[in-house]
């Protein structure tokens, strides 16, 4: 909707404002990235480019292990969240109880991470006592799986909304047409609906992967005896202060997230063009 009679300078000014805001939001991040390549770190008199801090990072066995845990959790969380989000979106379209269902699915967004994490922690401890007394087996010891559960409650609402918005563009007549051609519900979904919502599923996969990769509070509360990259970074930072290694870790974080976003945007736009 472009307005032919709108003052072009007002329009340009608004664009400028919008880009400035994005710039301000991104500025600190890019600034740390910039510092992370400085030999002297933050506050040094002159800037000397170096890969040194990143090299020390990758030579550190501990950090490599944390990256492994982070990736493992992210893969499991994605593998659980995306099917759940697809099921939830389908359920939403069919159910008569739309309002309570939406509230249930979106509520985790409206509860601070610490509160959810603390409640889940105490919940798991109680479940442990329960399963131990009934089955003789503590089934909810803090571990990879408790961290995964905590992260899913956080990622599922986002994936649900993204997939729901994508599914809304799908015409239900097409699924019905597939049914009348002899497809069962499962085939109608895979042959006809899924190819058309693939972009949204792909986007939400990347989204969830990044959310999981970045997640700190819940993971920190619910993980077992291992560290993920964010928990390692935060405890390192709180213990040693802002050393150049911390900047390098932050830089690594930024680069990973940004590259995922850029890959997603690039593929989406390429698909649109073809």
């Amino acid at each position: 909707m472009t307005h032919d009679y709108e003052n072009p300078w007002g329009y340009r000014l608004k664009w400028l404002y919008m880009l400035t805001v994005v710039g301000v939001l991104m500025l600190p991040v890019f600034y740390t990235l910039y510092i992370s390549f400085n030999y002297g770190g933050f506050g040094a008199a002159e800037y000397e480019f170096t890969w040194l801090w990143y090299r020390t990072l990758f030579e550190n066995q501990e950090i490599r292990t944390t990256l492994g845990w982070t990736a493992l959790i992210a893969v499991i969380v994605v593998a659980c969240t995306i099917p759940l989000a697809l099921l939830a979106a389908k359920f939403y379209q069919r159910t008569r109880f739309k309002v309570p269902f939406v509230f249930l699915m979106l509520m985790p967004l409206f509860v601070p991470a610490d509160v959810t994490a603390a409640a889940l922690l105490v919940y798991f401890k109680n479940l442990n006592t329960l399963t131990e007394s009934v089955l003789g087996l503590a089934m909810f010891e803090l571990s990879l799986w408790t961290a995964v559960i905590g992260q899913i409650t956080w990622c599922l609402p986002y994936a649900f909304v993204v997939i729901l918005v994508t599914m809304a563009r799908f015409r239900p007549e097409q699924a019905e047409a597939a049914r009348t051609c002899g497809a069962n519900a499962w085939q109608a979904f895979w042959h006809v609906e899924f190819p058309q919502i693939r972009a949204g599923v792909f986007a939400s996969t990347a989204f969830v992967a990044i959310l999981s990769f970045n997640e700190y509070v819940r993971t920190n509360f619910l993980k077992g005896g291992f560290d993920t990259f964010p928990t390692y970074l935060v405890s390192y930072m709180l213990n040693t202060g802002m050393t150049p290694e911390v900047y390098a870790m932050a830089g690594l974080f930024t680069v990973v997230s940004m590259s995922v976003v850029i890959v997603v945007l690039a593929t989406t736009m390429l698909r649109e063009r073809s």
């Binding site: 007549e173 097409q174 049914r179």
Partner: protein, 366 residues
């Protein structure tokens, strides 16, 4: 039971049989219990105003929605509890129902690939169907590269290729413009006659219904009002609603007075219509309808029954002219006459006499 069974043996099995099917959404009734049978090989049209329950009926035959009561039989087999993919029916939707990520050929072949037929057989059958609907050479196109009419033909091919015994069409021409719709009607009728499959077609457009139908069922307010051949529905409708919906009829409501030869419908002070040998008694409310082309408007009475009127509007349509007139008590009536047959050119405000033959009056008791 035995009576029905023996009857079923002597009569051919209908392609579709609905026995008291009904659909409620909570407290809202979409279709009251309705029964009908559709003879095999016929072109059957469900006609009616929007929201009247005709699409609901069709979707219950298709297996896309489950009736809240009653049974559906296809070729005599009870399919009420089977979903759409397990029924011997296929369907054409109003629009946007082609699979956009598949080519035209893949669309048509989809149902056959589900049956895992040999590839070359799938291909030859799909191409043959595309030829039948006049789209040979389009097989590599994508749906969005086709016009609205072509898309509907692809849908028809996709339904025909399955060789099901019934094809259901849900407002298949509603998205097309008037001229194209008329042409597609003729073509649908031709295709149905050539393949001999039972077609069940839902529409709100009476011209479309009259063009294609062997038989029309009028559905409104969640019930089947009346069914019959197009000729019956037009010439001798039994129900008042049918006369109001199909054709261009003037409806008059009143009370029956008198008996036998003296019987007449009193509509208002000084306006009564003779109904010799009316089958109902004194004091009963009833309605009559008269087709617009059965009226004759002239400076004086030219048929047996007449009433003085005032001309309200005159619409010249070329071959015919339509005139809205007002009866003595103020009721409107519609007259249509071939332009050449009019004794004079009437103008708005003229006084004239409306007359008609007694046989033109159709009595409706409901």
């Amino acid at each position: 039971m035995t009576v029905q069974e023996s009857a079923a043996r002597t009569r051919p099995v209908p392609a579709v049989e609905a026995e008291g099917i009904a659909k409620n959404y909570g407290s809202v009734t979409a279709l009251k219990p309705t029964s009908f049978a559709i003879p095999a090989g016929s072109y059957f049209v469900l006609l009616g105003p929007s929201g009247g329950g005709k699409t609901t009926t069709l979707r219950m035959i298709a297996g896309l929605i489950r009736p809240t009561g009653g049974r559906v039989r296809i070729n005599g087999a009870d399919v009420t509890d089977l979903p759409a993919d397990r029924r011997d029916t296929s369907m054409v939707f109003q629009g946007a129902a082609l699979f956009p990520h598949m080519t035209v050929e893949q669309n048509v072949a989809y149902g056959l690939t589900l049956r895992r037929l040999p590839r070359d057989r799938i291909r030859s059958e799909a191409l043959e169907m595309l030829k039948l609907v006049g789209l040979a050479g389009f097989e590599r196109r994508r749906p969005h590269e086709l016009s609205g009419g072509q898309q509907q033909r692809v849908q028809l091919a996709r339904a025909l290729v399955l060789k099901t015994s019934v094809i259901l069409l849900d407002e298949p021409l509603a998205a097309l413009d008037a001229q194209l719709r008329r042409d597609m009607c003729f073509e649908l009728k031709h295709i149905q006659e050539s393949v001999g499959i039972t077609f069940v077609h839902v529409t709100h457009n009476q011209e479309e219904a009259m063009t294609v139908a062997d038989e029309i069922a009028l559905i409104a307010d969640g019930e089947l009002v009346e069914r019959g051949t197009p000729e019956h529905m037009y010439e001798t409708p039994e129900r008042r609603f049918t006369a109001g919906f199909i054709g261009e009829n003037t409806l008059l409501d009143g009370i029956i007075h008198g008996h036998g030869q003296e019987a007449r419908l009193v509509i208002a002070e000084g306006l009564e219509i003779p109904l010799p040998n009316a089958p109902v008694g004194e004091g009963r409310p009833a309605s009559v309808s008269i087709k617009s082309e059965d009226f004759r408007l002239a400076p004086e009475a030219v048929d047996a029954v007449s009433a003085p009127v005032e001309v309200v509007d005159v619409f010249y349509l070329g071959f015919s002219t339509v005139m809205h007139v007002r009866l003595p008590d103020g009721r409107p009536a519609t007259v249509r006459s071939t332009t050449g047959a009019l004794p004079t050119r009437f103008r708005s405000g003229d006084r004239a006499v409306l007359s008609w033959r007694p046989e033109a009056v159709r009595l409706h008791l409901a």
